[in-house]
């Protein structure tokens, strides 16, 4: 694995940790509401799972017998870093529920997972590859359901539904990382 790929995974991992912290913060903002608290915690848990998946992939790539080389487009991490850090600061303040949902959509629209999923193509064992992919995929239908249930903003709901649709299957990946 090249240093470039290693640093890409490290950066993605850092950003997933920040996303986890944002969701944890939202959970604390809505502590008074059991359902919302559980929901934001489950979102945080998903992001934490992504960090674990990244660590797994990194280890597998390091141990791979092949000397793997990738062409990396790190644009996605650069853009994601700007947004996630801004959202992290915002989540430190008082966040109304609709804005919390919007933050969640902004986070989930980032294509960090896509980037890492591209890396999984290097995993030779199909079972391991499938496991890594499953750890990275996030079923966002809960987010959509919660928006439908708890807020009246149709446009927010439409954005959530569009995101769920776009995440069905993994064939829509953007190809940020390619085997060289």
């Amino acid at each position: 694995m090249t240093p470039e790929v290693a640093s890409l995974i490290d950066e993605a991992s850092r950003l997933e940790s920040l996303a986890m912290a944002i969701y944890t913060r939202l959970a604390s903002c809505f502590r008074e509401d059991g359902e919302l608290h559980r929901f934001w915690m489950s979102m945080a848990r998903h992001e934490a799972g992504h960090v674990g998946a990244l660590a797994l992939i990194r280890t597998l790539l390091e141990e791979s017998a092949d000397d793997l080389h990738f062409e990396v487009d790190d644009r996605v991490t650069r853009e994601a870093a700007v947004l996630i850090q801004a959202l992290h600061r915002e989540a430190g303040g008082v966040v109304p529920l609709e804005r919390a949902f919007a933050i969640s959509l902004e986070l989930e629209t980032l294509e960090l997972e896509d980037l890492v999923l591209d890396l999984t193509c290097a995993l030779s064992d199909p079972a391991v590859r499938l496991q890594a992919e499953q750890m990275l995929l996030h079923d966002l239908s809960d987010l959509s359901l919660m928006i439908e249930k708890r807020c009246t903003d149709d446009e927010l709901l439409a954005r959530a539904d569009a995101l769920v649709d776009s995440r069905v299957g993994t064939d829509n990946r953007r190809g940020y990382v390619r085997r060289a």
Binding site: S28, G34, R45, V82, Q85, P96, E106
Partner: protein, 456 residues
């Protein structure tokens, strides 16, 4: 309890809420305290950032060094919610986080932006803080929607009284209940009453959360009478008026309504603009006037929404790789220009006036010159098309005009729209500005309609 308080003093309020209150205590055998975190990364973060603080706090509380182990547990995901319902799990050092008066955050009268919708509330709060309210203004009951400044005024009252050496108790409704339940369960009701007897003023936010809690209401009734009879200032805030609070004891309802009832109305455009300017100035952010005007017209939410936008802009401007140029500003403000629900008549009127270079007062005036009358016709048409308001309602909103005048205005605009493609295009752009077509907000849409020649 002691350990928890110590931790709270050593970490920020945000960190305490986010990372410490989510922990649950699994066991304490006198030597080792085992805490549970909801998942692995959470545990790692707590260990990395807070473990020494927790260890020290436990050592002080237990009067000896104890090991603190953080593991991933099964129950803590729901623990926060349970705590909120008063079903507490012990946290850190096997103690429940004790409800205590909230610290008074830095909100003052000087930073409160006064407008038509909140003037009475502001004046009432100031009088109470200066203790010149007299019987009629005490208690002060503030009510209104989320983010309109109720808490700000309560805190400002608290700050002012505290500055004059008064002992002020500030509780949120839920915390008052928790405090009372804890005292009840721990057999410490005498101490609970003593705390209030020794207070010089009482502030309770989110009173609506007391609805349906009979015992809490009884205690509050007692505390209220105690302080009120002693002439001590009391201020309360709620999302609705006392008589609309369901499941509230009538005695308490009448006590709440016995002083000054002050409604905080929605922010009008003028107030939104002033608040926005103030917050941006505090954050050291400069936005062009045309963007400020546009935000003031289209931001329909609360002060919190404005604060959210400003913190977003501040975050962006503090990031080296993202200078606050027009493009960044556009990206940041777009989510805030999203329409939510039906469009308000005032927003339509403000927007049409602004687009035509008129003030709202000019548009609503009796001026019959074409410069003003034609935009007024357009406003009537837009109101009819984009809102659910009836013709008489539109007439009323447009300066008290008869519904037949509105109907004529609507027809004349509709007629011209069918025969004048350029005019039709401008109307469409105005609709886009008002957020009725997805994906069409933004400066581009604005540029096409801004400041057309008068009379169009």
């Amino acid at each position: 309890m002691q350990a928890c308080s110590q931790i709270e003093e050593q970490v920020s309020e945000k960190d305490f809420q986010t990372w410490i209150l989510e922990l649950g205590a699994r066991s304490f055998d006198g030597e080792t305290l085992t805490l549970e975190a909801p998942f692995g990364l959470f545990r790692d973060r707590v260990k990395q950032s807070f473990l020494p603080i927790i260890e020290n706090a436990v050592a002080v509380s237990a009067k000896k060094r104890c090991a603190v182990v953080v593991i991933v547990g099964q129950f803590v995901a729901a623990a926060g919610a349970n705590r909120a319902r008063g079903n507490h799990r012990p946290v850190a050092a096997t103690k429940t986080p004790v409800a205590k008066p909230k610290p008074l955050r830095e909100k003052t009268f000087e930073t409160f932006v006064v407008g038509e919708g909140n003037r009475l509330a502001y004046l009432g709060a100031r009088q109470l803080a200066e203790q010149s309210a007299g019987e009629g203004g005490n208690p002060l009951f503030l009510y209104g929607g989320v983010g309109l400044g109720k808490t700000h005024l309560l805190l400002a009252v608290g700050q002012a009284l505290r500055a004059s050496g008064k002992r002020v108790l500030y509780y949120q409704g839920e915390d008052f209940t928790r405090r009372m339940v804890e005292a009840l369960q721990g057999g410490r009701m005498e101490s609970f009453h003593r705390e209030f007897r020794s207070a010089d003023a009482l502030l309770i936010d989110d009173v609506q959360f007391l609805a349906g809690k009979r015992r809490t209401q009884q205690e509050l009734f007692h505390v209220f009478n105690l302080l009120h009879e002693a002439g001590k200032p009391i201020a309360l805030a709620s999302d609705r008026a006392p008589d609309e609070l369901e499941n509230l004891e009538r005695g308490l309802q009448s006590r709440f309504a016995g002083g000054l009832l002050a409604d905080l109305g929605p922010l009008d455009r003028e107030l939104r603009l002033r608040i926005l300017k103030g917050k941006l100035s505090e954050a050291g952010i400069h936005l062009d006037d045309h963007i400020l005007e546009r935000l003031a017209v289209q931001l329909q939410g609360s002060v919190r929404e404005i604060e959210g936008l400003v913190s977003r802009l501040r975050a962006a401007s503090s990031h080296q790789s993202m200078p606050l140029d027009d493009g960044v500003v556009e990206t940041m403000i777009t989510p805030y220009l999203t329409r939510r629900g039906p469009i308000d008549l005032d927003v339509v009127i403000d927007t049409v006036a602004w687009v035509h270079g008129l003030t709202r007062d000019e548009l609503l005036s009796r001026d019959r010159s074409r410069r003003v009358a034609w935009p007024r016709h357009i406003a009537a048409y837009m109101c009819r098309k984009l809102t659910a308001a009836s013709l008489p309602e539109i007439g009323h909103a447009l300066g008290g005009r008869n519904h037949t005048s509105i109907l004529r205005a609507v027809r004349s605009v509709a007629e011209r729209q069918t025969s004048d493609a350029a005019f039709s295009g401008r109307l469409q752009q105005m609709e886009k500005m008002l957020g009725t077509s997805p994906g069409l907000r933004g400066r581009g849409a604005m540029a096409g309609v801004a400041a057309p020649p008068p009379g169009h």
